[in-house]
């Protein structure tokens, strides 16, 4: 692939990201304003009268027209200022800078586990199709998809934290404080999160490998006298790599979303807790900030995926 086509892909994606960012934050903002409930009620406190709530609304500019409020937020965001939480007045950038690493660590660990375990399982199942091994792998995969991650998380805590006392039950430590501490806190939540991922990677890899191994191309390779293992490793895997990449990028985005529940189970102060608490109280600057950053991450993942597609398969422009 030529350099110009690569930069064209990047350029196109970046241009597309702008409307995605604006639209998604606008939709979230609109949803927060449309559903009943009002941050002014929370701000006014337990003893509030109607007049006090109206006063608060005015004080915080919540009585301004919807588009004016959104415009003000967008204008600041474009200048790199994600505002402050209406409730606690912490800078949204500071909240995200603290929460995002916790969430990313768990997601990246879970992703690594999903690939390290899922890929060998998928290959093993595909290469011994319809054997007992295949059956076993596919049963494990079905279980992995079916088991809710929060429930698995609680089981893991009960065993490894409360009974055996090997790993911490709750909380998180940042990587900058202590690498060992951060990993030991992240490993159980990552396992809970990875179960579904392992299953998905194994199943997808198996079915695309099986399809390839039954293709005319592979029959030709057999006829040429190539050994089955050479066919699997050299031709089979190369052909499914694009499929696998799709699975991985979708999985990463989904793990990012799935951390909400797992974070609550393990008391990890991550992005999930941040956005849930903010959404409940309609603290829109925080919700907007988190959505903004999440969309950025998803756009970045998709961009990297596109570039890799391009490298792996020159037919994809």
């Amino acid at each position: 692939m030529s350099l110009s086509s690569k930069s064209a892909v990047i350029g196109r994606r970046l241009v597309q990201a702008v409307p995605v960012l604006v639209l998604s934050t606008f939709i979230v903002f609109a949803l927060l304003k449309l559903v009943p409930g009002d941050v002014a009620v929370t701000l006014a406190g337990d003893n509030a009268s109607d007049a006090r709530i109206a006063e608060i609304r005015h004080l915080y500019g919540l009585d301004q027209p919807f588009l004016v409020q959104y415009g003000a937020w967008l204008w600041k965001a474009l200048h790199g200022d994600l505002s402050h939480s209406l409730l606690s007045s912490e800078a949204v950038v500071a909240s995200i800078a603290r929460c995002l690493p916790h969430t990313l660590l768990v997601v990246v660990l879970a992703m690594a586990l999903a690939l390290l375990i899922g890929i060998p399982l998928g290959i093993a199942a595909a290469s011994r199709q319809d054997s007992w091994l295949d059956g076993l792998v596919m049963t494990i995969a079905s279980l992995g998809v079916a088991v809710p991650n929060f429930w698995l998380g609680m089981l893991l805590v009960a065993l490894f934290a409360l009974d055996l006392n090997w790993l911490p039950a709750t909380g998180a430590v940042s990587l900058s404080q202590s690498v060992g501490g951060a990993l030991s806190h992240a490993i159980l939540p990552a396992c809970a999160l990875a179960a579904g991922g392992i299953a998905e990677v194994a199943r997808q890899l198996r079915s695309s490998l099986v399809e390839i191994l039954h293709s005319q191309q592979v029959r030709t390779l057999h006829a040429k006298g190539l050994s089955p293992s050479a066919i699997l490793w050299r031709h089979g895997l190369k052909n499914v790599s694009v499929n696998l990449l799709t699975v991985i990028s979708l999985l990463f985005n989904r793990l990012l979303a799935a951390t909400v529940v797992v974070e609550a189970v393990f008391a990890i102060p991550g992005m999930g807790g941040l956005i849930v608490n903010a959404a409940i109280h309609r603290d829109f600057p925080v919700v907007q900030g988190v959505v903004f950053v999440m969309v950025l991450i998803v756009v970045a993942i998709n961009l990297v995926t596109d570039i890799l597609y391009n490298l792996l398969d020159p037919r994809i422009a």
Binding site: P36, V41, D50, R52, I53, S89, S95, C99, M154, A161
Partner: protein, 516 residues
């Protein structure tokens, strides 16, 4: 103290309850009475909610107090078991009904070295009652002027007699913040608070933690015991409890009763269970049909089986609520407690008298957390037996509460709770007075308004209790709400913590805790 639910409690809890308090160590003696407190150690707490603010004046959540009290001392404090006001930073007196004098402790300093003197108190009180961002202006409306009448004496000139002020000054309004800090930082004091409490502020990371450290210059000799408190914010109760079971945290408080078996299984933990003002109740919108009819409201009250409710939804860790004050409170009136025995037939008859021979359907708002859903199911079964059919709408707390209390006025009833206030007059003024936010219909019988005002006129607690008895009788005879059950405070405490004492407000203070 007889409880219909005694059978559900273990021996050590009964010992605790009979003593009026409920922390017991291995010896069966209350933990705080066991041995002399040792100094030192960091106490690790799991708290259920991020504070709304660390500035007492601008915060709004009832869950903040436990964190605020570590940093801020209050002018007035209260007795843990009955909530009777007692001197804190100040002793008070009423030379005449419209004058309140506060005499301050000597040599008290804020954490930044600023003196906590009469000027500082005046600055705080004036800010609390006048600053546009203050959420507690309504608590202090009876004050006409705050005057400095001595270096350590402040005199409050009142518009009308107000003997609820001592209790009010044990709440947010009485938390003294450093004027120097307030002047320097303005609203940013929210994130850099400076008080005069036993611990100094170190850090606050939203939804993660609040950390405080010992104030070596604290005015009470020998206090505090703890070198610091590390508060992790863990909203999920089961997770908070797991952190204590795993030994990572020393205290998880305000746990739901459904977790009690889990605490029981972790044998090494101390269980704390004690009465609180937290009252699960039905709010009525009685300004419009059908609940404008007193017979329908009374029918709901007769249809409730409060003892069964306590057993079914609180595992016995509660007290049937026959008014908005629990039996251990200083203003409780026993004669009101017998007004509504469980009587579905009476409820049906009242409904028929009100013109609903075939029963009635009422709309009701409720929350979507696990405990609220369970409560709503029990309620539906109980009221159903009296021919009251409930049409539920569920949602998050802010959403459903706003729909009921704010301008939309949805639903006939709301299944929610009243978290209690230091003075009962606040409870009645906020819940039933004309125009009050927690009075969804905003209407109030002038006779009740007059009684609420009267309850603040005498300084004598017995005289005040007599007025509250009249208020409680009025509220319950008119069935302006349907109190159901007081929820016990349920805490899981590490075995090494000594001296923890629950309070009737249900908001833990850490001043007596030491780590053995």
């Amino acid at each position: 103290m007889t409880h219909a639910v005694r059978g559900a409690l273990t021996r050590r809890e009964i010992v605790a309850l009979a003593g009026g308090l409920a922390v017991t160590g291995a010896t069966g003696l209350p933990a705080w009475a066991q041995d002399a407190a040792r100094k030192g150690g960091i106490f690790k707490v799991a708290a259920p909610a991020n504070p709304s603010s660390l500035d007492p004046a601008t915060g709004g959540s009832g869950a903040d107090h436990t964190i605020l009290w570590t940093m801020y001392d209050t002018l007035v404090e209260w007795d843990y078991d009955t909530l009777k006001p007692k001197p804190g930073l100040a002793k008070w007196s009423y030379p005449d009904p419209k004058t309140m004098v506060l005499d301050l402790e000597k040599d008290v300093k804020f954490h930044d070295g600023t003196a906590l003197d009469a000027e500082a108190v005046k600055f705080n009180l004036d800010r609390n009652r006048q600053d546009p961002r203050s959420n507690i202006k309504a608590d202090l409306t009876s004050i006409a002027a705050v005057e400095v009448t001595g270096p350590l004496q402040v005199t409050l000139r009142l518009k009308n007699p107000d003997t609820a002020l001592p209790a009010i000054l044990s709440d947010r309004s009485g938390m003294m913040a450093s004027p120097a800090n307030l002047k320097a930082l303005g609203d940013d004091t929210n994130r850099k608070p400076v008080g005069a409490g036993p611990w100094k502020f170190v850090s606050w990371a939203d939804n993660e933690s609040v950390v405080v450290t010992r104030n070596d210059a604290y005015w009470r000799p020998g206090r505090p015991y703890l070198d610091g408190i590390d508060i992790a914010i863990i909203p999920e109760a089961a997770t908070a409890l797991r952190s204590v079971v795993a030994g990572e945290r020393d205290l998880a408080f305000s746990l739901p009763a459904r977790l009690k078996p889990v605490i029981d299984r972790a044998k090494q933990l101390q269980i704390v269970a004690a009465p609180t003002l937290y009252c699960v109740q039905l709010y009525f919108n009685y300004a419009r049909a059908p609940l404008d009819n007193v017979k329908v409201r009374q029918a709901v009250n007769f249809a409730l089986d409060r003892d069964a409710f306590v057993k079914a939804t609180m595992g016995g860790l509660g007290e049937a609520a026959t008014m908005t004050l629990p039996s251990s409170h200083w203003a409780y009136d026993k004669s009101v407690s017998t007004l509504y025995p469980h009587d579905p037939d009476k409820a049906r008859k009242l409904l028929a008298d009100a013109g609903f021979k075939d029963g009635i359907q009422l709309t009701i708002g409720s929350y979507n957390d696990q405990d609220s859903v369970q409560r709503s199911e029990v309620l539906q079964a109980q009221l159903g037996q009296a021919g009251i059919r409930l049409a539920f709408t569920r949602g998050t707390i802010p959403e459903i509460s706003a729909q009921f209390f704010a301008t939309e006025k949805k639903f006939d009833m709301l299944l929610s709770a009243w978290t209690g206030r230091p003075d009962p007059s606040m409870t009645y003024a906020l819940g039933f007075d004309k125009g009050a936010y927690y009075n969804a219909g905003r209407e109030c019988d002038p006779a009740l308004s007059t009684l609420i005002q009267q309850s603040r006129e005498s300084e004598d607690l017995a005289a005040r209790a007599a007025v509250f008895a009249k208020i409680q009788r009025f509220v319950m005879e008119n069935a302006l709400s349907a109190p159901i059950a007081f929820q016990y405070e349920l805490d899981a405490l590490s075995p090494k913590a000594k001296g923890y004492k629950p309070d009737l407000l249900g908001k833990p203070k850490f001043e007596h805790i030491s780590l053995g």
